[in-house]
Amino acid sequence: MLDFYGTTLANGFMLGTAQYPSPAILADAFRRSGASVATVSLRRESGQDRAGQDFWQMIRALDVHILPNTAGCHSVKEAVTTAHMAREVFDTKWIKLEVIGEEDTLQPDVFGLVEATRILTEDGFQVFPYTTEDLVVADRLLHAGCEVLMPWGAPIGSGLGLNNLFGLRAMRAHFPDVPLVIDAGLGLPSQAAQAMELGFDAVLLNTAVAKAGDPAAMAEAFATAIRAGQLAAAADPMEPRDMAAPSTPVIGKAFLS
């Protein structure tokens, strides 16, 4: 399932555009990743250097779907206003809604998130909420109008992978028809593969690629892992068991002792 608010994506790779060593390396990483979505943000522009304009030209040339975020917003009002500004600049209804509630972990303020979601959905936005794996919150977000959920794997930029496997597995089982994206915390391609193997529809990451020694190579590694995980999930993995079960048939084995 790669349908997000009626838009079908070519793959489950959403890649951030921040922290790359250079614009050329960013563009190269996107080419090697084949990512179908790029996350972007809004910041203060200077009338003298107009840095944002050059960045925008480069991002447009990537020819991917644009998902603006409300990163750094700590209140509902800030997030809603930023979303409106993003919709005008990027000309998209999509918004990656972040309402940050805690500085050390950048954990979402889920109460503010639900409130902001309701306001934005009523105003025609298509909200991609950065949330936790809490099922009650997820249900409130769906009732507020979300058609996608984006639980964190681990704190943003931590690279810790999937911190709460039980919670994420429960989320997948509880909402079998809702597109689910792991957003934040991934550090290695194997973790992205694991997310896809759990049945998640996509992963969104940034730091793991941008801060790698070779971002473009890491982008390709993630793309390969995401594809592998997706194939594995579709192939219906075997059930794990506690005790060994010989894979080589014992019938016909020679008696040699």
Binding site: A18, T39, S41, E45, G52, W56, H84, M85, E88, V89
Partner: protein
């Protein structure tokens, strides 16, 4: 009048938001604007008057995760 543009105090001759943006080098730029914390859509900039001490935010596309 004096007002804050992206956090910096400036002196301007402009009395409307669209005039301020032209004066400050934003002509033709891909930007979004807010006055005193409230979003002002592009279509309304010409009708948005400015007052002494106003806080103007001019935002543009930037890298994000």
């Amino acid at each position: 009048m004096k007002l804050q543009l992206n956090g910096a105090m400036i002196e301007t001759q402009a009395v409307m938001l669209d005039g301020l943006l032209q004066e400050q080098g934003f002509t033709g730029a891909k930007i979004a604007t807010a006055v005193n914390g409230e979003f002002v859509p592009a279509a309304l900039r010409a009708a948005q008057s400015l007052n002494d001490g106003d806080r103007i935010e001019v935002l543009a596309p930037m890298q994000g995760g």
